[in-house]
C-alpha cells in the first residue's frame, strides 16, 4: 500500500498541562475526503493547528506523503503542500479581494502555473473574479468563505484542511460550500474537513471520525448518514 497522503500518528497536544489531543491517529489517502466531527473543545481545530505547525506537539508524527513535518514553521508547512482554510475565514478585510488571493500565492512551491491556478480558482468562484477590485471586508460571509477557500487553493496544495467552513452561513450558502468541496474532490485534492454539521459531513466524506475529549470515538461512512445523530448521541453520552 502506498503511504497515505496525510498521516497523523499518535498525536498528543496539550495546552498548559491540559491534554487537548490524546494519541490521535488518522490517515487520509490521496484524493480522499475525510471528515472530523465532534462537540466544541473535542480537539478538532487543535489537530489541524498541529498539522500546520501552529501548536507544539508533545508526541506523535505528522507526515505528508511519507515525509515528517516535525519542527516546520506554518509557512514551511504551507510550502510543503498543505493549506488551511482557517476557522472564521480570516480574510484580510482592509485588502482587496485580489490582494488576498495574491497572498495565497506566497505559499506556492514555485511560481510556475500560478496564472493557470488563479484562472482555475476564478472559474470555480466567479464571485471572487467579479469582486477582485473590492475591499474584502465588504463581502458577505458566504463570499468571504469562498475567498478563503480560493486563497488556500491558489497555493496549489496537495492537501486542503478546512476548519468549519460552513460556520455562521445561511443554509443556501452552506450548499454552495459543499458543492465547492465536491468540485475540489473532483480535482484530486486530498481534504480533511472539520465540521459541526455532522450528518451532512458523514454523507459527504469518504470517512468521518467522531472526536471527543481529544480522542477518536467512532468511524462513520456515508452509509451511516441517516443514523448520524443517534450514533453521535450514543457515543458522546
Amino acid at each position: 500500500m502506498s503511504p497515505a497522503m496525510l498521516e497523523i500518528d499518535g498525536l498528543d497536544v496539550s495546552y498548559g498541562g491540559i491534554a487537548a489531543v490524546r494519541g490521535l491517529s488518522i490517515e487520509v489517502g490521496k484524493g480522499e475526503i475525510v471528515g472530523l466531527i465532534g462537540p466544541n473543545g473535542a480537539g478538532k481545530s487543535t489537530t489541524l493547528h498541529a498539522v500546520m505547525g501552529l501548536v507544539a506537539t508533545r508526541h506523535g508524527e505528522i507526515r505528508l506523503a511519507g515525509t515528517s513535518l516535525r519542527g516546520r514553521a506554518p509557512e514551511e508547512v504551507t510550502r510543503s503542500g498543505i493549506s488551511l482554510v482557517p476557522e472564521g475565514r480570516r480574510i484580510f478585510a482592509d485588502l482587496t479581494v485580489e490582494e488576498n488571493l495574491r497572498l495565497g500565492l506566497s505559499g506556492r512551491r514555485s511560481r510556475e502555473g500560478a496564472a493557470e491556478d488563479i484562472e482555475a480558482v476564478y472559474a470555480l468562484f466567479p464571485i471572487v473574479k467579479d469582486f477582485r477590485r473590492r475591499r474584502a471586508g465588504v463581502l458577505s460571509g458566504g463570499q468571504q468563505q469562498q475567498l478563503a477557500i480560493a486563497r488556500a487553493l491558489v497555493a496549489g496544495p496537495d492537501v486542503l484542511l478546512l476548519d468549519e467552513p460552513s460556520l455562521g452561513l445561511a443554509p443556501k450558502i452552506v450548499d454552495v460550500v459543499f458543492e465547492t468541496l465536491a468540485e475540489i474532490r473532483r480535482r484530486g485534492i486530498t481534504v480533511l474537513l472539520v465540521e459541526q454539521r455532522a450528518q451532512r459531513t458523514v454523507a459527504f466524506a469518504d470517512r468521518t471520525y467522531l472526536m471527543a475529549n481529544g480522542e477518536i470515538r467512532l468511524t462513520m461512512t456515508p452509509a451511516d448518514a441517516a443514523d448520524t445523530d443517534t450514533m453521535v448521541a450514543a457515543y458522546l453520552s
Binding site: M52, T78, R102
Partner: protein, 308 residues
Amino acid sequence: MNALGAPVLATINAQVVVDAIGLGATYALMAVGIGLVFGILRLVNFAYGQLIMAGAYTLAYTSSWPVAWSIVACFGVVIALSLLMERAVFRPLREQSPTVMLVTTFAISFVLQSIALLIDIRDGQIGEPAPSLTSLNVPISIDGVDVRKVTIVAVLVAIGALGALALLLGRTEIGLRTRAAAADFRTARLLGVKANQVIGLAVVLSGALAATVAVILTVQTPFVTPDFALHDTIIVLVGVVVGGIDRLWTATLGGFAIGFVSGIVNGALPTDSTVYLPSVVFALVILVLLLRPAGLFVRGRTSVVDRV
C-alpha cells in the same frame, strides 16, 4: 483678551511654526520606525531612542571622516544594532505577552545607555562633540523667517521617506506581505508569508529611519550623551499611542502632532517657563486619551491590543 493670552499669542509667529513643523517631521520619522516594528511584532520598542543614540555616537566618533562616509557608518551601525536587537532579544520573546516585551525593551534601553557611557567615559568626560554636520544648522532667511537648513532637510527627508515607504508597502509583493503580517500575523504565515522575512524588513526599515533621525538630531544638538534622544523617544511613544499605534499612518500623524504641538507650546511659553513644556503636552495627552482612548486619528472604537 485675558492677561495671559496676549503675550502667548504674540509669540506664536511664523518662526515658531516653522520650527514646530521641523520637530513634527522628525518625530513623524521616529513614529514610523516605532510603528513599523509594532505593526509586525506587537512590540513597543522603548529602546528605539538608543538606536538613535548609537547612530549619534557613530557620527561623533567618525566626525573626522568625510561627511558622506560618516553618515554611511551611522546607517550601518544603527541597522546592524536593530537587527541584533531583533535576533538576540525580540525573536526569543516572540510568543511572550506584550508586557514582558515592553519591560524587556526598557532593560535593553538601560543596558545600551550604560554601554554607551562606558565607551564615552574613556576620555574622562561624558559627552562627545559631533561637529561635522553643524553647517546644516545654519539658518537661511526666507521672507524674514529664519529657517535652519536642517529643518528643510528634516521636512524633505520625512516626506521622501514616508513616500518611499508608502510605495514599498502599497505597490510591492513584500509590502503586501508586510501589510498582511501587520493585520494578522498568524494567518499571513499560514498563507506562506515568511515570518523572518517580513520581520527583517520591518527591523531594517525601522533602523534606517532611526539612523536618519540620528543625523537630523545630531545636526541640531551636536553634543552626544548616553541619554541622547531618550526624551524625544518618550514624547514620540506617547504621540504614537495618542495617534493610534495600531495603524502606521495614525501613529505617524500622532508623532507629527506631538512634535508640532511641543514646538508650538515651546515657542509660546515664555523662555523662563519652558520647564512647564512636558506638563502642558502631557495634560493635552491625558485629555486626548480621555476623549478618544483608541487614538486621536482612529475611526471608530477599536481595541489597541487586539492581537492573534
